[in-house]
Symmetry: C2
Subunit: 414 residues, 2 copies
């Protein structure tokens, strides 16, 4: 499928019928924005993908309950500063009360609200400050508030992450917007990946959840900064039908087009998160082909991009094919080692399972040049790995392993 869409401004407020806000409620000691709201003017269907961890924040449990009950959704409330994870029954009550308080301010049912938190594990939300700030937050919600909302969900992310794409379905413009935060962790215990998607297409709840799950598997689930999974990871997607296109209720060309654009939004945000990983000096993309299934290719790609040895070699700008081969081999996917092929940029380092004579200076220079790209520039360290003749294909993204990663994660002392 060709990418028949283009970027539009506005992030999560680019799709019709969505407003958003971000304000400083005083939850963070820094005084930076720490409370965000996304509102759909009319009810939206919602889909979600959440952390698979056994240790889950109250907000994650809350969202899972609401989505299981298939409630229509009007708003998402997101706080940064306190993760409200490992806070027990009291933390659960805080979540329930947050939703109730916002429901009163917005004059909507509490079950039409979803919640997300990011910040320090073990800390309860500063409820007095949060509740007191809700009227100001609601009043600030505007149809151009997407970028401000994106800034308010940051913890120690170095940049905010926001995107919107537009395509044409059924002769009418359809937009998907998204914002995310990643795993910058100057403070400890802040490793949360949060992402919020808005869409003005009309689509059935079942299809929308299926699309989101598949898109997550090709994007956020293929990002690794350090292999750790947060207690608060959440991806929530709303679709409100305000584009007034015909409802997409079964698979077909329109559904494919919508899913492709949803996947593109998710992959854009996923790459932003990898590039903004702790201590990262570059974005690394691994492409794997030749497996039986796409899932197998994704697993190998994820293993390579997550290997500490591969990551350290890239930080050292060392074209170390041996570590890439090693990581591919330990991905728990069967392949014939004599079919292994490894490319770095346009240079072939290994083929048919054996190292080739290649220009080491050119390879090292490729790493230096590619890694030196500006933020979100197309310059990315690209590793291509073939493992056979199958049609499976998969991508994964990560970053290098630098001194700063260790520094960020070791030198904070509680």
């Amino acid at each position: 499928m060709t990418a028949d869409w283009h970027i539009v401004p506005g992030g999560v407020t680019a799709p019709k019928g969505f407003r958003a806000a971000g304000i400083t409620a005083g939850l963070k000691a820094s005084g930076l924005p720490d409370l965000a709201l996304v509102i759909s003017d009319n009810t939206a269907i919602a889909a979600g993908v959440f952390t698979t961890s056994q240790v889950r924040a109250a907000c994650v449990e809350y969202c899972r309950q609401q989505l299981t009950a298939k409630h229509n959704i009007r708003a998402i409330l997101i706080n940064s500063g306190q993760a409200n994870a490992a806070t027990g029954e009291a933390g659960w009550q805080d979540a329930v009360e947050s939703a109730q308080a916002l429901a009163q301010v917005l004059n909507i049912p509490a079950h039409a609200i979803l919640l997300a938190s990011t910040g320090v594990i073990g800390q309860r939300i500063k409820m007095d400050k949060l509740v007191a700030a809700l009227p100001e937050l609601a009043a600030a919600a505007e149809d151009d508030g997407g970028d401000q909302a994106a800034r308010s969900i940051m913890t120690t992310d170095l940049v905010s992450k926001s995107i919107a794409l537009q395509t044409t379905i059924d002769g009418r413009p359809v937009r998907i917007g998204g914002m995310a935060k990643g795993s910058g962790m100057i403070h400890p215990n802040m490793a949360t990946l949060l992402a919020f998607i808005t869409c003005d297409a009309a689509v059935s709840t079942t299809l929308w959840q299926q699309m989101l799950t598949r898109a997550a598997d090709k994007s956020f689930n293929q990002v690794t900064v350090d292999g750790d999974t947060s207690t608060n990871d959440a991806l929530i997607a709303l679709a409100n039908g305000e584009s007034r296109t015909q409802a997409i209720i079964e698979p077909g060309a329109d559904a494919d087009q919508l899913e492709a654009m949803l996947t593109a939004v998710c992959q854009y945000l996923a790459k932003c998160i990898a590039r903004d990983g702790e201590g990262a000096t570059c974005l690394v993309e691994v492409q794997v082909h030749g497996t039986h299934t796409d899932a197998e290719a994704r697993q190998i790609a994820r293993t390579i991009v997550g290997s500490s040895l591969v990551k350290a070699a890239i930080f050292g700008r060392d074209p170390n094919w041996g570590r890439i081969a090693m990581a591919a081999g330990r991905a728990d996917i069967l392949f014939d080692q004599n079919s292994l092929r490894i490319e770095l940029g346009d240079l072939v380092l290994m083929d048919y399972g054996q190292p080739l004579e290649f220009d080491r200076d050119a390879a090292s220079n490729y790493l230096k040049t590619a890694a030196a790209g500006e933020y979100l520039h197309t310059d990315t360290v690209l590793i291509k790995v073939g493992v056979g003749d199958g049609s499976g294909f998969g991508l994964a993204w990560g970053c290098d392993l630098s001194y700063d990663y260790v520094k960020i994660n070791a030198e904070y002392t509680t």
Copy 2:
């Protein structure tokens, strides 16, 4: 079972009827010892556990073939310097010729020889030097050569790793010796874990393989330095019956006693490898209890000890319980988060899934003190994690993540 054994000198040559040697054959540029031999005077049964990687060295494929054919074994030849992995058909021929050449020197069948290699991936063994050195190597094999052999299998290990234990079975002394090398990697691509066990008990091949597999699951498979798996990992155990005890051919008290001592030898060597991990400043032991099965507990323990965030926190001497909880949660083992309990040394940091008020200075001081232990001193950073009321228990070992890890793995440039 109480540990009714004691340490004896001699490493792999402590058990009766074993000789060993280690010499400089010129395989390494450094001139350090690089060729080792372990000989059993009479035929021994052999068991093995090998890398699960899809990219396997020629020596691993060779050993798997010999062990599948259930050949009795007389000798193990180990070279350091070149890994003979990713070397294709030529590398396979080198392995076959190594065994044939040693067979001629020792006047034994080639199929009575096992092989192991460690060193740079993609490099073939310097066969002329290896073959020329075999007569000297064979002549040097003595019944006190265990320590010299242990030194000759090192690559960039900082210390050699060797142990022997003695117990009494059937009224007679029985010994198990072992040596290992770990994953010091100043050169790239040297991450191999090799371990060799000798035993003078008489035991059936089937039982011996079962014991070794279980012991590996409780020792070497519970060690992580950086989560990467080598192309050459091998654990080989010989038992030659020279202790003249009654043959252990079925499960029972004698088998249990032998397996317990085998497990102790493997765990000792596994801890040596973790403590000597690249850039490590301390050994970390994670104990998990309360799961349904031991395997579940081991998986959680392994996930915690392998978490980059936990490792970096320990390097920073930061009692960061949140990261331990996070890592436990993502281990793919179901448990009730409200039963999570975390102890650091004797301090309880979290209980019933919620953080406790604890003495942070004492906790940080515990980390500083425990981490400052001498090599293989009993001072070890100990993390205890409970996840419920089950009887499952598991251990894992690792090390912290330091600047030196990044330095060692990034600053070498090919």
